[in-house]
């Protein structure tokens, strides 16, 4: 059996990649995908623990996360479309009109 730490390491790496993607990329779609990566890193950690502790709640939690993520994607993509219509761009650095 693969040790738990392997899963967790992978999960951490995925999460960190997601964070870097959100912080460094400018394309809104890519940022979105990075966000999904972070979700899935969390999901991986959940199922790994569920397996390790023989508990179902972790597995079930993952379904909830996936559902919420799906809803979030629907809203997020709609936002991106709306932004593109007004700004003709999905470069997040150009969306800085709330600058103080």
């Amino acid at each position: 059996m693969v040790p738990l730490s392997y899963y967790l390491m992978l999960s951490a790496v995925m999460f960190f990649l997601g964070v870097l993607g959100v912080m460094l990329r400018r394309n809104a779609i890519i940022i979105f995908m990075s966000l999904e990566l972070m979700f899935n890193a969390a999901n991986l950690a959940f199922v790994a623990f569920a397996l390790y502790y023989h508990s179902l709640s972790g597995q079930i939690f993952v379904f909830f996360v996936m559902t919420v993520a799906a809803a979030e994607v629907a809203v997020g993509l709609a936002l991106i479309v709306a932004i593109f219509r007004t700004k003709h761009s999905i470069n997040v650095d150009q969306l800085s009109s709330l600058k103080g």
Binding site: I31, V92, S96, G100
Partner: protein
């Protein structure tokens, strides 16, 4: 027994006021005037019923209306109810207030009808009667109170009405602000007195633990023995209140300026009723005053000094109402001197008769003024344009009105003779009683002051009557003056009758009023009738009138002629004419430094310190926010970084805790 009706002396004016306030606009002038007069009249009716009940059952009765201030603590209680105290003293005041008040209300219907048109705002007719009923209401609260705090409520209420009615034509007067200034002056001068009243009340509460008359007066002797100083302090602070409301030295300065109000106001508030509240207060607190001889002496001397001082000023005034105003101050001095000496019945007697004849004199003066104003309109129309600076109240513009205003002349004469103290009119008996009491109570100084004041009273009233009614008209408007309608002259006649027969209230030897008041004020000594003194007073009055005749009657003043007295008296006359520069002196002594202090507080202190602190705080916040707003870059990833950093910090805290 009608004692349960007692609260209605307050409720009737309240109803009248509310009705006029709500639906007065639709009623028309007659309707408004009728409702207001009826309210005052019904109040008078209730007072009469109370008087009858008291005649049968002279003990004081207190009618509870409602609980007012219920404060019960372990340290002490302040439990006051709204209660109407019916005793011979309060009912005497109620009868005067409502009786004279009703006549003045009726007169005011006619007077204000012309006055609002003369001043160009007929819409204010209703407002006038609302204020008048409010005044009756407040005055009734003042006199019917059964504790000092309720008296104070009425005391302030009448002060408010006085302010509102002096400033009734607030946009008129000198420079368009004169009347408003006069109203303000009255209010502020009274504040000084009210401060004294408040301090006296605090002292009473600390010494007696109660503000109810019954509790205080029954324990006064006991407290006086334990702490004699506190009774003295209470009575002296109360004297300050009296000097404010009753226009005594040194706070009298507001009353002459208060003549800016319409004449019925001067008659009701500034002659007959409100200004006598101080006399009533001393009479009501007789149990305290008789325990503090020093305070009594002070009160008597303040009254006597005021009586003489104001009389000297009245001698040299030209404004018909100013003469009467100073005369009122002087007569109030008589009353205050009387109650100060302990002659409470004599003081109250003079209060009642003075309400009759001074109310009469003011109303007649109003009638004269309107007669002349009528003539002014008449001549103005005839000549195309009236003289811009014509003053219908200046006696130098009058003269010869005897033939043009017959009723006014006769009632004025009755009032003037009563005020001068000519036998057998009301003023003779009441003034003589005060003089007799001064002699009996061994106050020779006060007696001399009062006799001198009585002489001057007769002189200035003679001067006024000769200047106004005798000789030839000194201006066109006076030559075309016209008598006023019966609505105004009938109340005058009624008051004139009262002024003539008012002395019957307390004839020497019979002492009706004295016996009546004795049920409330203990230890009254009936004044003996001292024939030589009465003859002296009469002789002094006749001498005053004779002197006035020889100066102003024998050869009447011509148009533009200076006052003959100014040649005889020289600089003294100038001083009297300028009111002894008291206003100027107060201006230098009090108002000037006060303005300087206010300026100091406004510029360097308020703007320099307080505003600066506020503005500094604002600038600081602005600078801080200008620095903080740089955090908001508008880049999504910097916000994401902040979220991440926050998450890391929280995690780190949880892990390494």
């Amino acid at each position: 027994m009608y004692f349960n009706l007692a609260p209605w002396v307050i409720i009737f004016p309240l109803i009248g006021m509310v009705v006029n306030l709500l639906v007065g606009k639709r009623l028309g002038e007659i309707g408004i005037g009728a409702i207001a007069s009826l309210a005052a009249g019904l109040s008078f009716g209730v007072a009469v019923l109370l008087a009858f009940s008291l005649a049968a059952h002279p003990e004081a009765v207190t009618v509870q209306v409602a609980e007012w201030i219920p404060i019960y603590t372990p340290l002490g209680n302040l439990a006051l109810s709204w209660a109407v105290r019916v005793d011979t003293l309060s009912v005497t005041m109620m009868l005067v207030v409502a009786g004279v008040g009703t006549l003045i209300h009726i007169y005011a219907i006619g007077y204000m009808h012309q006055d609002v048109r003369h001043n160009g705002d007929p819409g204010r007719f209703r407002r006038f009667f609302v204020y008048m009923n409010l005044f009756i209401l407040a005055m009734m609260v003042l006199v019917s109170a059964d504790n000092y705090l309720m008296t104070f409520v009425g005391w302030e209420g009448v002060g408010l009405c006085s302010y509102l009615l002096i400033g009734f034509w607030f946009e008129k007067g000198q420079d368009g602000i004169g009347n408003a200034k006069a109203a303000k002056k009255a209010f502020i001068a009274n504040r000084v007195g009210d401060f004294g009243f408040l301090i006296a009340m605090f002292l009473i509460f600390s010494a007696f633990g109660s503000l109810r008359f019954e509790d205080i007066f029954s324990r006064a002797a006991q407290v006086a023995q334990a702490q004699p100083g506190i009774i003295l302090a209470i009575t002296l602070f109360m004297l300050l209140a009296v000097t404010g409301k009753s226009a005594q030295l040194p706070l009298y300065v507001w009353l002459p300026d208060a003549m800016a109000g319409p004449t019925p106001v001067s008659a009701l508030i500034h002659a007959a009723t409100m200004v006598t509240a101080g006399v009533y207060l001393v009479a009501r607190s007789n149990a305290l005053y008789s325990l503090a001889p020093v305070a009594q002496n002070t009160v008597a001397w303040v009254g006597a000094a005021t009586a003489l001082f104001a009389a000297t000023i009245a001698v040299a005034q030209y404004d018909i109402k100013k003469v009467l105003a100073y005369s009122t101050i002087s007569q109030l001095g008589f009353m205050v001197a009387a109650v100060g000496m302990g002659a409470f019945a004599a003081g109250m007697f003079h209060l009642v008769t003075h309400a009759f004849f001074k109310g009469l004199l003011f109303l007649s003066a109003g009638s004269v003024i309107q007669g002349v104003e009528h003539g002014e309109k008449h001549t103005g129309a005839a000549h195309g344009s009236a003289e811009a600076s014509f003053d219908p109240q200046d006696m130098r513009n009058m003269g010869g009105l005897r033939s043009r205003m017959k009723v006014t002349f006769w009632v004025y004469l009755a009032g003037a003779l009563a005020l001068a103290g000519i036998f057998p009119l009301a003023g003779f008996f009441s003034k003589d009683e005060i003089l007799a009491e001064a002699m009996q109570l061994n106050q020779p100084g006060v007696l001399v002051f009062l006799v001198l004041a009585a002489f001057l009273t007769a002189f200035y009233m003679g001067r006024q009557v000769f200047m106004v009614f005798f000789g030839k008209a000194r201006s066109d408007p006076a030559a075309h003056a016209q008598e006023n309608p019966p609505l105004m002259t009938l109340p005058l006649v009624a008051l004139a009758v009262l002024s003539v027969i008012g002395g019957a209230l307390n004839l020497p030897g019979v002492h009706t009023l004295e016996t009546w008041l004795e049920h409330t004020i203990g230890g009254l000594q009936p004044a003996e009738f001292i024939l030589p003194l009465a003859l002296l007073a009469l002789a002094v009055a006749l001498l005053g009138i004779f002197l006035a005749w020889s100066l102003y009657g024998r050869s009447p003043l011509k148009h533009g002629q200076v006052d003959p007295l100014s040649k005889t008296l020289g600089p003294v006359f100038r001083g009297m004419e300028r009111k002894w520069w008291v206003d100027e002196f107060y201006g230098k002594l009090v108002i000037g430094p006060y303005h300087a202090l206010a300026g100091l507080l406004a510029q360097p202190v308020d703007q320099g310190v307080i505003d600066a602190a506020g503005n500094g705080l604002g600038t600081l916040t602005q600078g801080l926010s200008a620095w903080l707003r740089r955090v908001q870059t508008g880049f999504v990833r910097s916000y994401a970084l902040a979220v991440l950093a926050g998450g890391v910090v929280i995690l780190a805290y949880i892990i390494f805790r």
